[in-house]
Symmetry: C2
Subunit: 238 residues, 2 copies
DNA sequence: CAGTGGTCTAGACCACAAT
DNA sequence: TTGTGGTCTAGACCACTGG
């Protein structure tokens, strides 16, 4: 967090969160913000663009930038956000139990079908997330080099913090998929399911240089699963 | 589709789709694109920014803009895209049967809990989507003014095309939620389900002036449900 | 009409990658 | 060192909103 546009965006986001700017109100105009922050209009516009992508504001031509009703502060799970980050943001009564933390022996068929080399090496981390005393999610992560040096302690805390703060790697983007599938016996047991279906999310995450660094397979107890998303209509079609 | 940045973005997107620029290759540099399109660098950068948000490219400092592996062309369902648009893009063997097209009598509790007036008026449209002869999705839409004049014919074809092309309204953004719930008897029957769970997606869609114009509740046959998403890590935290 | 955001330009300097 | 994208500036004109 160092350049001007991110500083401005963070400052505005904080002021929105703290209700200094409330839902339905307009932010100061771009010209006013330009003076407030002592910068150029384009820089202010870049900052507002970040807030727009996050779904915090909507810009209306001829009027201004209006603060949107973000239930998103209370129940977000879209974007690339780690379980630990969500946990902190939402104040969940959640705990993490590390079940495995060992070298990868093999990777799931799904990822092979999506172009990942079946002999990929790295670290396998399996964790059980318990929310309000209910076993709710099993996260199976395959961390690939350059993500190395993972210990059980790191896996208990936050992989993303380790990757970004300690390894100084820049997480950029991910492809995700959500399906509903019959649970295996192992999953049924670990989640103590009383019916046959489980929600499965699979994702492939990449660094800014497009290096694949993480494969994730998560199994969610259906009645505990909720995915929320903010999406914008894209102006370009193909 | 009229301003320069969208023209450039569309042109590049088309060239990526047609493999003129292949996955893993770099686009021409920003300076080259500036000359190619006879415009300024900032305009080119705005165009590339659109492609970046779509997940078509990744920009790497010091190197260039690389074309990403977009399975997204083959199985996209994120963003705000209508069933009809998906159908056309993917060439699905899908059909739509309009079950209802009438004034709204009441709206689901979920939307009331999310701040929608329970006495809202408008048009209720219920449609059954059949894919490969299997009844797969029930879409229940509540269209609010200024979206009026909906007929069964429009509902059979494309609501979004009607809203954007005929009514000239600008669709901006939506909040979506995905959960898994016990199916009601009515849903079980209409989707011919042989087990008790159904995937439910609920969304509230807005115009550029932040007017709420559409509520949607969709029920998906679990084994036919697949949600795919491209997400970027956001630089700002709160 | 004045004020807003949307688009576009022409430049500048920086950090980074490759040679 | 050269070329790349990242950041930032100062200005211009447009389209839209409101009084």
């Amino acid at each position: 967090m160092k350049n001007k546009q991110e500083l401005i965006a963070s400052d505005l986001a904080q002021k929105i969160r703290s209700k200094m700017y409330s839902v339905g109100e307009f932010l100061p105009s771009e010209n006013q913000l330009t003076e407030l922050y002592g910068t150029s209009r384009e820089t202010v516009r870049n900052a507002l663009s970040l807030l727009t992508q996050l779904g915090l504001i909507q810009k209306i031509k001829g009027k201004g930038s209006i603060v949107l009703n973000s239930d998103r502060f209370s129940l977000p799970i879209s974007g690339i956000v780690s379980f630990q980050e969500l946990n902190e943001q939402l104040g969940l009564h959640a705990s993490t139990k590390v079940i495995s933390c060992e070298p990868i022996s093999s990777i799931p068929q799904y990822f092979i079908e999506h172009g990942v080399d079946e002999n990929t090496t790295g670290t396998y981390v399996e964790r059980l997330r318990t929310i309000d005393q209910v076993p709710s999610v099993i996260d199976c992560d395959y961390l690939l080099p350059p993500v190395t040096g993972i210990t059980k302690e790191i896996a208990e805390h936050s992989l993303y913090q380790y990757i970004e703060d300690t390894l100084k790697l820049k997480i950029a983007y991910a492809n995700k998929e959500i399906t509903v599938e019959p649970a295996t016996e192992k999953i049924k047991e670990e989640l103590q399911l009383d019916q046959p279906l489980v929600v499965v999310t699979r994702s492939m995450s990449f660094l800014q240089d497009t290096t694949l660094f993480q494969l994730t397979e998560s199994y969610h107890r259906p009645e505990k699963f909720k995915f929320t998303d903010f999406a914008r209509r894209n102006p370009i079609q193909f």
